[in-house]
Amino acid sequence: MRNFNWLKYKMIYFVISGSLIVMGIFSLYKWGISLGVDFVGGSLIEYDLKTSISSDVLKETVEKEGIDIVSVQNIGKENYLFKFSEITNEQREKISVSLSQLTGETVNEARFEKVGPSLGAELIRKTIYALIVSASAILLWVAISFKSFKFGVSAILAMFHDSFILIGSFSLFGHFFSADVDFLFITALLTTLSFSVHDTIVVFDRIREINRKHGGEFSEVCNRALSETMKRSINNSITIILMLSSLIVLGGSSIFWFAIALLVGTVLGTYSSPFVAVPLLVAWNNLRKK
């Protein structure tokens, strides 16, 4: 990978990122995002039914009791997730009884969540504030340590690029695989932010060093920095991908989508440093010259 001309294909990277972003916008516009009870409020009960039954039958059973139910979903083994917009304790008991009759087993309530709608708004708002504050802090830090605003802005743009595509991909997963966006997703999003910036700074650091030592044409310097850091970027993300793949395959249902989100975030974070942040930096630099 010695001194490969990475930046020659700048347009390709922009097209890839552009289409991922457009796909995200399309999916968000068409299907929106499937928010979990953490955000919109409502109730969910996870039952361990000890047998396999079709979700439709389960839904009918609950509806027969005259209880409004949003959905029933099999989430691994014999565990089923029931979602309600609102449920009382009497209704909860009724469901337990009728499910026991249906399965002929004692039904075990593995998880129960009931969230008032106001809590979700708080979580979203505080997360947005946290994003704004940390993005500004990182922008400042990068701008100071690289003595250039350009570096800071490019790093932040790459970070938002990753977050947005991650959100977009969960809009798709939500539509096709009924993955919900819950507080674990928020954590994965924040992890992606940190990882993305971390990775970008490593590449920027090399640009700074080569610039200081050898100088020369800025895009040449960037090319060399990319060549020199590419292997490290790939190897580093492989170690994280190995870890996360193991979590996805073996980690059980409660962290499955969380691990998927982290994996998507890691791949994006690795991709965006050389192929979004650096091309942006170079493009901005060229623009100034003209």
Binding site: E46, D48, N89, N108, A110, R111, F112, E113, K114, V115, G116, S118, L119, E122, K126, T127, Y129, A130, V133, S134, A137, I138, V142, S145, F183, L184, I186, T187, A188, L190, T191, S194, F195, V197, H198, V202, F204, D205, E209, E228, T229, K231, R232, N235, N236, T239, I240, L242, M243, L244, S246, L247, L250, G251, G252, S254, I255, F258, L262, T266
Partner: protein, 441 residues
Amino acid sequence: MHINLSRRLLLIGIVFFAALFVSMPAEVKLGAAVLKRPNVDIQIGNFSLQRKFDLKMGLDLIGGSHLVFEVDDSSFSESEKTKVMDGLKSVIEKRVNLFGVSEPNVQTSVFEGKDRIIVELPGVKDTKEAIALVGKTAQLIFVEVKSEEIEGKQVEVLSVTDLTGADLKSADVGFDQVSGKPIVLLDFRPEGGKKFAELTKRNIGKALPIILDGEVVSAPVVQAEIVGGSAQITGDFTLEEAKNLVIQLNAGALPASISLVSERSIGASLGQEAVKAGVKAGAVGVMLVFVFMIIFYGKMGLVADLGLIVFGAVTLALYKLIPVVLTLPGIAGFLLSVGMAVDSNILTFERFREEKEKGVNLIWALETSFERAWDAIKDANIATLVTAFILANPFDWPILHTSGPVRGFAITLALGIGVSLFSGIFVSRNLLRLLIRRENK
């Protein structure tokens, strides 16, 4: 530049074994032998250190209930509100302690001007009972039945007396000697005993209803003046109800009524399954990373793996010592920091290869690669620490998260980065120095 390598290696060894000691489970089975870790119990003057070194796990891992109550304190003035909230907190704490929950957590919080109480009950199975226990105001009052003339008719009205739950010294569960049913025994303070004696004297032959939260639980007919300062409630209680009532009476009434706005209960089995699956997945993942590092970096990879083991032991020990409550998001923070710890190694190793290709002396190449890589590692980790700091929100800025999952994530992330600097730089570097000196001889 002279470096006392053996002293540094000794330091690494001491830190590693101390951390290993703390982070190991309390009992380890080695074939037939069982290794037990003694608990630390140090007493020097006024300073005492008692630690069991248990890993504290959050509700999502061990199961339990997370309850959020909204407080109806709109009738109080601003200055009274703090008092009300403190009172609520202490009464609820007393109740859950009496209920027998181990390590409950009761917190107050404010959201959009509304006061809230957050109650976390680890390991509680029957949440309905717990909610009823926590949420009841438990306002106990004794009333007299008086005859009054209203619009020419004789009407019986209830008149509130000055004898309330505040006059109680203690309450207890007993059993009715005739029916064998559970009853609640009340023991008054001296002042309350006097009030009760007067009250019974005034009402011989009449009913003396006992009202809890606006409902008549019992209306015994007074046979004679009771001077002993004790009374009993023979409501139609089940044993559980009687027990809970006793807890509520002993803890005192809530100074304001509260209502449940959010509940999150996780069965212990689900949490345990999550932990088991997570541990297995984590172990496999770590093995894969170990193998990867050895395949790509040979002996240096092995050193990096050793560094990672030190990282794991020290981080786990810190979780236990601080202590950090481990939750699923917390584990994410830990994994991310593992990734960053490996990254510091990969950064330096790649750098080392480059330097080596220049054909310089190996020791020289090693030292330069660590020094050069340090710039990148420092800047990248400071950026991550800044994020972790904002998310952890140590100064409780109200616009950011003051509790919950995001904070847990940030704390483990920040700790992990701190430890990774030690393991990825100090440990790996000195181990590599040892390796290279040996080879150069």
